[in-house]
Each structure stands twice: as C-alpha cells, then as structure tokens.
C-alpha cells in the first residue's frame, strides 16, 4: 500500500533508523532540556555507560542467563500446555464448558499475589519462577489456539471427513496448519509475558536473575541501573519477537500478507 517510490527504496530502509536516532536523541537531551531529574529519567548516555564496566557486564550476563532460562523453560511448558489444552478443549464442547471458566479464573488471579504461594510450594529455586512464567504464557497461547482452530472452514472440515481422516491426522494436516497464524500470535504474546513472569517471580523471592538485580537497583535508587536492566529485557524481548517474525515468514509462506514481509 506504499507509494511505488518507497518500494525497495533507500528511504524505506533508512526511515526506521532515523526514528531510532530521533528517539535516542530525545532520550539523551530531554532530561536536561526539561529539567527531568536523573532519578525519574536518566539520560541515555548515563544508562548506556552502566554497560561500560566489564564487571557489571559479567553480573548482567550471569543473572540474565538465569532469567532467560526461567523464561524459556516456562514458555515451553506454559506455551506447550496452552497449545495442548487449546487443541483438546476445542475438540469438545463439554470439556470447554467444564474447564474454560477455571482457566479464566486462574488467569484473573494476579500472579504477584499467587507468587508467594508458589514459592511455598515449589521453593526459592528456578521451579517457582518457571511456574509463574508458565501460568502467564498458558493463557495467550490457549486463547489464540482456540481461535485458530475455530477458523477452520466448513469446506475443509467436510473434505477431511470425506477422506476418512482420523482425528490425529485432521489435527496435524488441517487444524494445526490452519491455526498456525493464531498460534504464532499466541507465541508472540507468550514470549513477551514470559520475560515479565520471570521478573515478577524473581521479585517475590529468588537467588539470582534480572528481577533480583532490578529490585536491588530500585532499592538502591540506582535509576540508571534500573533502566539498564530494562534495556536488557527489551533487547531479549526484541530478539524473541524477531524469531517469531522469522517463524511466521517461514511457516506462513502460504498467506500472501505474511509472506510479503519476506521481501522487506
């Protein structure tokens, strides 16, 4: 829908870069310009300078790895269960009626309030954080899987019934591919909350992790460090998000509007 001029044009590639520089400049100079104190919004260079110290980097790396591990394992478990439940529930109205309200109920409980209970049950190690992450990742995956599975057309369903496809084959060759756009959307949402979940889990009680660093930095009123840690989270999130984008382009080649993006 862009003008032909923009297509494959240099300007097209430059625009995001320009915006990036623009945002960076604002972040750097707005605090001074508008007299925003450092503890409210430290200038970008202050935040970036936090990364200059190799010892700090090592600490970030160490703790980041723990958070990443919790997020990934939790995502795998929660996302996987969300997918599985989505598939199972959408196969039966009865199961849906029986279990869906409990799932919604579980999701409406603030995880920060549940986290202490999970710590009691599963200890201060990785397990309790992984469970918080899994709880958070479960729902977006579930809801999107169900929506995707429901989008299968009546014609396609009739085809699979006509060729006598067993349920497993119908899932594999029809439901799952048809639901894939939505499942990947669920994954994208789950990825974002997986990082949040790991952090929140760490807030309540952990030995290591970016969440621990964040609480520590906040407690010390070390706001540049707070922002530095947030930047790490953002970087991880963008990395995750890019991999989903990549998966979309690879797996959804048959949707013109998804594949189109490949050329960008």
């Amino acid at each position: 829908m862009e003008s032909r001029f923009m297509k494959d044009n240099l300007g097209y590639k430059l625009a995001p870069l320009i915006l990036f520089v623009f945002v960076a400049l604002i972040w750097e100079y707005a605090p001074t310009l508008f007299g925003i104190p450092e503890f409210v919004l430290p200038r970008l260079s202050r935040v970036v300078s936090v990364f200059a110290d190799p010892r700090t980097l090592a600490v970030f790396f160490d703790n980041g790895l723990v958070t990443l591990l919790e997020a990934l394992v939790g995502l795998l478990i929660g996302g996987g269960l969300g997918l599985a439940f989505g598939v199972v529930l959408s196969q039966s109205r009865l199961l849906m009626k029986m279990f869906y309200p409990y799932i919604v109920a579980l999701q409406c409980m603030p995880k920060v309030a549940l986290a202490p209970l999970l710590v009691i049950w599963f200890g201060f190690g990785l397990t309790s954080k992984i469970i918080v992450v899994a709880l958070l990742c479960f729902f977006p995956m579930l809801v999107n899987t169900i929506t995707g599975l429901r989008s299968v057309s009546r014609d396609n369903l009739e085809l699979f019934r006509a060729i006598g496809a067993p349920r497993s084959a119908t899932l594999r060759h029809l439901y799952i591919p048809a639901a894939l756009p939505n499942i990947l959307t669920g994954l994208e949402l789950a990825i974002v909350v997986s990082l949040l979940g790991a952090i929140v889990g760490e807030f309540v009680g952990a030995e290591k992790g970016l969440g621990v660093l964040l609480v520590q930095a906040q407690f010390q009123m070390n706001i540049p460090a707070v922002f530095a840690i947030l930047l790490i989270l953002v970087a991880l999130g963008l990395l995750f998000s890019l991999s989903v984008k990549f998966m979309r382009q690879r797996l959804l080649f048959w949707i013109p509007q998804e594949a189109k993006q490949v050329k960008v």
């Binding site: 060729i163 006598g164 067993p166 084959a169 119908t170 060759h173 591919p177």
Partner: protein
C-alpha cells in the same frame, strides 16, 4: 429395482434450519443405484444436487428418510468413497502433490508407489510439472483438476463428483470425459456425477437422473443404453442426439422462477 443396489436412497427429505427459518432443499427422493453404474444427476441450480450427494456421502444427515450403502445405513463418511467437491477445496499450505496424496497421507505412510500414481494422475489431467506448485499459483481449472486427482488417488470403488468439470474448457473437458470413461470401464467403479452439461451426462453415464427445481425431486430416470466405450465421435450420432433430446425439455419445463 434389482437387489445388487449398492446405494439405496429411500424417501429422503432435507430441510435446512437457518436463522431465517426452515429451507426445504429436497423433498422425498428415492432411488437405487446398482454396483458399477455411472449415474449422472442434472437439474436446475439450487435444486438440491449437492445436498443429495453429500447425504449419500454421509457428510450431512437427512431430515427424514434413509440411505443405505452396501446394505448398511449411512451414518458418516465411508472408506472407499471418493469425493470431488463443487469448489476445489485444496489446502493452501500443501503443494499440488501433497494435496493429491492427502487421502493417503491421513491414513498411512505415503509410498513411492503412491507418489508414482499421483504423478501419473497429474500427467493424465494435464498437470505435468505442477506437482511442486501451491494452489494459489494455479488457475481455477487447474485447481479443479488437482481435486479430481485427489479423489482418484485412493482408487475408491465409489466416486461422488459434484460438478468436477465446471471450470474446464471444452477440449480439456472432453479429454477428461474420455479419460473418465476409460477409468470407469477399467475399474467398474460406481460413479455419481452432478453436472450441468446434458451432453456430458449422456456421454458418461449409464443412467441420468433429472431433478426438478427446489425443493428437488427426481422427475425422470433415463437409461443410457449406449456401448460402454464412449468416444468423441459418439456425440454426433443419432442415438446420442435422441437421448440428449429426451433430457433437454425438462430444462425448459423446469424454468427457473
């Protein structure tokens, strides 16, 4: 009718329930189809041909009446029945070859033989070298031909075809008609074909059912006593013309409303 009936349709009625009320689609259709028969169904648009075919195929339930296939009541789709839908209904995420092999893939491992057979079918329907393409890259007629290959791949003994040749040009259609006649003679499959072409119905069939406008009923049942081998030359023959002329008047009488 004789007892070697493979399909028995008995006083079948279908009424669709919609938000706007009940829609009667088919009113009391009865017929028996013998094993190895090639039966065409013709009738005005919207008269219930697709509905009847889907009920025989076990895809939808009759509102009243009963359908038997090989002596047992139809409660769902059966193995051994090949279906071609009115639209091509191909999976956009599978290649042409994968779409053709789908009925096998959902049941067991695809063998080299299956693949060879698929290539053979694609060849005979003029789709050589299109096996790796995706449906979106095919023309309408090509998509329809892929769906015909898919119905034939499992070598079902009974074929239900809903306007499979509608998007084909005259020549492709004629060639495929000849091909179908060969297949039918070679395998003696039972075939039910919905078509809009009187010529096609007469050319391919051993029997033609004529339906009235909605809610459809069978208004004529014409035996096509022509030699089993049907060649293009047949179309010009007086017997062929006579049979076609027997059907044509219905299309004047049953004028659309």
């Amino acid at each position: 009718m004789s007892d070697d009936a493979i399909i028995k349709v008995d006083a079948v009625v279908k009424t669709y329930a919609t938000a706007g009320g009940q829609v009667p689609a088919l009113s009391a259709v009865s017929t028996n189809i013998r094993n190895g028969d090639f039966v065409s169904i013709v009738g005005p648009s919207g008269c219930g041909k697709t509905t009847l075919l889907k009920m025989i195929g076990g895809l939808i339930e009759p509102s009243a009446g009963s359908i038997e296939l090989r002596g047992s009541p139809v409660t769902g789709p059966r193995e051994d029945v090949g279906f071609v839908f009115q639209g091509a209904v191909l999976l956009p995420w599978k290649t042409v070859l994968e779409n053709v092999l789908l009925p096998i893939q959902v049941k067991r491992r695809v063998t080299a033989q299956d693949r060879a057979r698929a290539f053979e079918l694609l060849d005979s329907l003029g789709l050589t070298n299109f096996d790796k393409r995706y449906p979106a890259e095919l023309s309408g007629g090509m998509q329809q031909r892929v769906s015909i290959c898919r119905a034939l791949i499992g070598d079902p003994s009974c074929l239900l075809l809903d306007e499979p040749f509608g998007a084909l040009d005259a020549l492709t259609r004629e060639n495929i008609n000849v091909l179908f006649n060969q297949i039918w003679r070679g395998t003696r499959k039972t075939v039910l074909l919905v078509t809009h072409s009187i010529q096609e119905a007469v050319f391919l069939s051993t029997r033609v059912l004529v339906m009235s406008k909605r809610p459809g009923e069978i208004v004529d049942d014409i035996q096509i006593d022509l030699p089993e081998e049907r060649l293009p030359e047949l179309i010009g023959s007086p017997e062929f013309g006579a049979l076609a002329n027997r059907i044509r008047p219905y299309f004047t009488k049953l004028a659309i409303d």
